[in-house]
Subunit: 727 residues, 2 copies
């Protein structure tokens, strides 16, 4: 890990436009073409736009001549103006092409090509006379994005959305990797089934999650991952979710029609719109290769470039935390005292300590020492501030103040100590979903962080939202998360939000919104366990929108040593592989320090693995089964490979052709032992060093619930000479 | 007017406890008394507490042995814990007495006596076992206050209120001065009727008011003013409304039972409670003299003393404004441009000015000059900031930013100019009821005020509340207004809130919350007119809770000179009288400067009248008919008298016995001309100077819709000698 160098490499993106816009004005013809066809640059995808006889807009999509989306209607129902549903005429169409390359500040690639053909259709209604909206379609080689646009006009200034009626008419009873539609949480376990099986499985799939609000229509969440009988992979999601509610998908299990279902607000409305404005992009990523889905940058490309002028302070981070011990039965608590009813005005020094408070000076110092010793950037400390005694379940507005430490947490001394050792403390702002309280205190909270030298904060939204009646996925909260990210940027603070709406590529626009949770992460291993195939699905679903703070790295997978009978359902090596397969510029080593000290050789991989990348190679992938990814560290001749499997053992194939030709490298291979599996001998592994080059191929056994991790670097001649060549 | 001196006199209150608490612990007796009687210090009032056979708490109240409130139940229905309605046993009672005198920073008196006998009843339930609540009754000579208290206990930490069921069982079909119950507005015109007539009149009484939400049960608002057939005056309201929704009163027109109806939140809940906590006080002011109702300080006494450490910056203010011209047909507008759809990110310099923007540099300078010339403290400027083009009716969250002036308002230069002339500009923060937006920007807005030297702000809440689904009178907004006042205090800023929940004496606790509107004020004279009896009712209703920024002083009552056919329904002299009868430490001279310049002799009264008082004498009063009040200016030997009548002419009697004995004073009497009335010759008046002393009595003719104003000051011998003595 070499964060200083990584940080230096962060720079403003330069946009290399290879070809200028090619504008085809078709609107001037006397007879307007009411149907329009758009093809992707590589011609594999074709999108057809058409009006029905009633003037309803529709689209359909084919991939290599196979239908992906059959003719599907587009439209929006409204509350206080006539609907945008029918009676449309095409009054203008434009086709454009863009081919540019841009550079994200951090990411899976240092350079991203944004190449699409675009169709902009202007539609006009008679009721009210002359009112226009526009539909913008962008067809990339990897899929389709489209959105509704509402120009400012005399006939349209403000309107309230009752529902968006965007259809996705699928062609058959596809396999689908799904979680139930819910306005408040994405922290469900995935179910793999046919679309037609969803009705029978939906109740079983409705796990208990804090403050959940399962949608009462049959629905699933996005990103929604599908696979057709003839081998097409289809991913439906959205991009650039700004000032609009998150979209869920109603499911018709007989016709296989999916349709948009927006998250309502406290009074049942779905969106408050002021022209000029637009919806988020609706995205359909398609390929006949599963790996292409993971390689797609379509969602990022559909987001806006950042407006931040200075991004030099934004940097990937590797961190440990006073965190996992809270999940380990009986070890420690966020709360400081024995009280069960506290107020922010209370004097906590007068309360009786419960004797198990995790965020105490001594424990935090121990973590700082460990972080410094092993080269971590930061130590997250949860439970440092007053209010944890009764923070959950009371719909309490004044729940945290974000500036008052518990009596045994010396904020000044601990930060000073950390900084003296080259480590940052990472702030924690659990809001208990009391967003109004957080907004009221936001500037003060960030000023407090600046004062003590914190530069990143993990935010949390566990519970029922305040403003009461609002939902985690509603327009108000969508705006809230962005408000927090934007305000944080003013204070040069990075945000890692937990329990927020799932990401839609907004980290391109707000690059300090460095990671999110928004799915079932490692913490659930301590609350019943995650299925071994969970992390083979997440990259195809949750991670399509952006990096996840999955908090991997649990070495002590058998949690019975702490009491209880919990188990992390992976091998130790699979936990290493996650640092490559679960992309995030923010990576935690989530286990207790003492567990890492027992396995220093395996821990070396976590210390070595990069956070920021020049290039990503999806070597193998099948949702629900396996993923193998190789990535080149940004600006360095180092590569890291991670491979994982589900509950089945398999042999992973790592084709090293991503390496520069004609040169040998040292590969360190962390592998499951032969008799290892997620539930037996999960801590048995082997580590071997071999010589590899671009012609090498590794065939590696992965245990049931296991994985493989490889680090590859340059070596001098003598080093290389001592190593066996991989065949 | 001599504000500098007034300001100097502001000081911290000293509490003179004449008698210490007298505690009678009755709870130690083996057999507990389940009924308790409490009498007022003067023995006129008797309150009886009793449990019903089902263990329901009840109270009843008599005045001079006449029943005021028949036996009435007390109780609270809850959502998530067993109700506080029945099954109670008395487990302890305490009787206490307090007699203290305290000094408000500003007010109708410089010294207020707080004298009551108190009964604290501790009630216990079996379900859940041993859970306790307390009822605290305070019986003053002028009425009763009581509240529910919820001690912290194992059995009770958090609960949600479904409804409060406090009854006020009235003894007959009383006369009532009422406005309809409404969650969002108090800006209705009053109806005077019998209780039994309310059902027939309620629809007629539901005037169109912005964002109104009339309650669907038969209900009226508080303060509710009643008069019994045998001459008792009864006023029902509440004191210290903090962290709780405002109370309306359900009306049973047959049994004359009034009962509490709390304002719900966005999901229909009424209050989120965390022990230790309490409800606001429910207040019943009673007398056989109407004047005693106006003289009551019961509501103030039930509020908490302030916790502000420094109050030296809080001062009464007299102000003019760029305001009335917005109501005068066609003259000017809040908005700057011709746009109908604007965003805070727009560049307003690029918009076309509409040519009628009121808050332009030249007009503001003219107002500053006028204020300086005539000794006003401040000039309110509405419409100074961007966003007015489409601020209303769109439920728009990002409606104002409170820091960006329109292009023709030079905030720096205008403040500098004002300060150079000894005048302040008064800030205006219309929120359009987007409270979340205001809270988000509050610190920035107050920092902006500090930067430019504003020390007072008029806030506005016109429209439907954001958080959407919340109401102006709900718990969330109640907390919002207090949050704004509290935050303003940190910046040494005074608040004058319009369209907020009606006051409940909180200006004792938050003395920088210097005035409120929260009723139908002068602006309605320009929107259909106010009934001539309106201002004879307001002091008995709205003003019971606190000062009102009524914005009196309209000299040009016939508004047809501006076009249209509007008329202010008073004589000019009645407008002068308001500066005494409508108590506020913040008084506006609301008319256009040019109108004052046409009547410099009458204008002199507005310039002279004090804002802060040592002593108030209610000389005559009958709700709906007339009010005559004399007040002594704080720390000065000056007195001011205001008398008003309804649509009927009358002869007011001013008994000067409030003057110190044995000394003559100069009284300047501003009186309606003989042929004046609210709709004929309203601008005809006489001004005469006479000599008065403590033995004098003035019998003064008031025109229909008219009034009288008197200023009284010391004179030297020669001055006095030249004056006729009043007989």
């Amino acid at each position: 890990m070499n964060l200083t160098q990584n940080t230096k490499r962060v720079r403003k993106p330069r946009r290399t436009v290879r070809r200028a816009f090619l504008l085809l004005f078709l609107g001037t013809f006397a007879t307007l073409v009411q149907a329009q066809t758009l093809t992707s640059p590589d011609k594999n995808l074709t999108m057809q736009f058409e009006l029905t006889g009633k003037g309803e807009p529709t689209y359909q999509l084919t991939y290599k001549k196979k239908p992906v989306i059959k003719q599907s209607k587009l439209g929006i129902a409204t509350h206080d103006v006539p609907a945008f549903l029918e009676g449309f005429k095409v009054v203008n169409t434009q086709q454009n092409t863009l081919d540019e390359t841009w550079k994200p500040f951090w990411g899976e690639e240092s350079s991203i090509r944004n190449h699409y053909n675009e169709l902009l259709v202007t539609l006009e209604q008679q009721e009210p006379k002359g009112r226009q909206i526009q539909l913008r379609f962008r067809l990339f080689n990897d899929g389709l994005g489209f959105r509704y646009e509402f120009p400012q006009q005399e006939q349209l200034n403000y309107f309230v959305i009752k529902e968006e009626h965007t259809e996705f008419n699928l062609t058959g009873d596809h396999k689908i990797f799904w979680i139930r539609g819910d306005y408040n949480t994405n922290e469900y376990a995935y179910t793999t089934s046919r679309i037609s099986e969803i009705p029978n499985l939906i109740e079983k799939a409705t796990h208990d999650v804090h403050a959940q609000f399962p949608i009462d229509t049959l629905s699933v969440q996005t990103p929604s991952m599908l696979k057709t009988a003839d081998g097409l992979y289809i991913n439906i999601h959205e991009a650039a979710l700004v000032n609009y509610p998150a979209m869920h998908l109603n499911v018709d299990p007989k016709t296989f029609r999916f349709s948009s279902h927006l998250t309502p607000d406290a009074v049942g409305n779905k969106g408050y719109m002021q022209t000029e404005t637009q919806t988020p992009w609706r995205t359909i990523v398609v390929s006949d290769k599963a790996a292409d889905i993971l390689a797609s940058r379509l969602i990022l490309n559909l987001n806006e470039p950042t407006k931040y002028e200075d991004v030099s302070w934004i940097r990937p981070m590797k961190y440990i935390g006073v965190w996992w011990e809270y999940f380990v039965s009986g070890k420690s608590t966020w709360a400081y005292s024995t009280e069960t009813n506290v107020k922010l005005t209370d004097d906590f020094t007068k309360f009786t300590p419960n004797g198990r408070h995790g965020a105490n000076n001594e424990n935090v110092r121990r973590h700082i020492d460990f972080a410094a010793k092993h080269g971590f950037d930061a130590v997250l400390v949860e439970g440092w501030n007053i209010g944890w005694e009764d923070w959950f379940g009371n719909w309490k507005e004044e729940v945290f103040d974000f500036v008052t430490p518990y009596p045994d947490f010396d904020v000044k001394a601990l930060n000073k100590y950390a900084h003296s050792k080259g480590v940052q403390l990472m702030m924690h702002h659990e809001t208990s979903a009391s967003a109004t309280n957080y907004e009221r205190r936001l500037d003060t909270a960030f000023q407090f962080m600046n004062k003590y030298g914190y530069d990143a904060v993990k935010t949390g939204y566990v519970g029922k939202i305040i403003p009461r009646g609002e939902q985690h996925d509603g327009q108000w909260m969508v705006n809230h998360y962005i408000h927090v990210a934007n305000t944080a940027a003013k204070y040069k603070i990075m945000i890692n939000s937990h329990e927020a709406v799932r990401p839609t590529g907004l980290h391109r626009t707000y690059p300090n919104w460095i990671a999110q949770e928004s799915a079932r992460g490692t913490e659930f291993e301590a609350m019943g366990g995650l299925a071994p195939d969970h992390t083979t699905i997440l990259p195809f679903t949750r991670l399509m929108g952006g990096p996840m703070d999955y908090t991997p790295g649990i070495f002590q997978t058998d949690m019975s040593i702490y009491g209880g009978n919990q188990r992390v359902n992976t091998t130790l090596v699979k936990q290493l592989a996650y640092y490559v397969t679960m992309y995030s510029p923010l990576q935690m080593a989530a286990d207790l320090p003492e567990n890492y000290e027992r396995f220093p050789d395996a821990f070396q991989f976590i210390k070595d693995v990069a956070l920021d990348w020049d290039k990503t190679h999806i070597l193998e992938a099948e949702p629900g089964d396996y993923i193998t990814i190789a990535r080149k560290a940004k600006g360095q001749n180092e590569w890291f490979v991670g491979g994982i499997t589900d509950e089945n053992a398999r042999t992973a194939t790592v084709d090293f052709s991503f390496l520069p030709k004609g040169k040998d490298y040292i590969a360190t291979i962390y592998a499951d032992a032969k008799d290892a599996s997620w539930n037996k001998n999960p801590q048995k592994y082997t580590i071997r060093k071999v010589r590899v080059n671009a012609k090498s191929t590794l065939k590696q056994h992965l245990a049931p619930g296991g994985g493989v991790a490889v680090s590859i670097k340059e070596g001098d001649r003598s080093e290389l000479r001592g190593l066996k060549k991989l065949k």
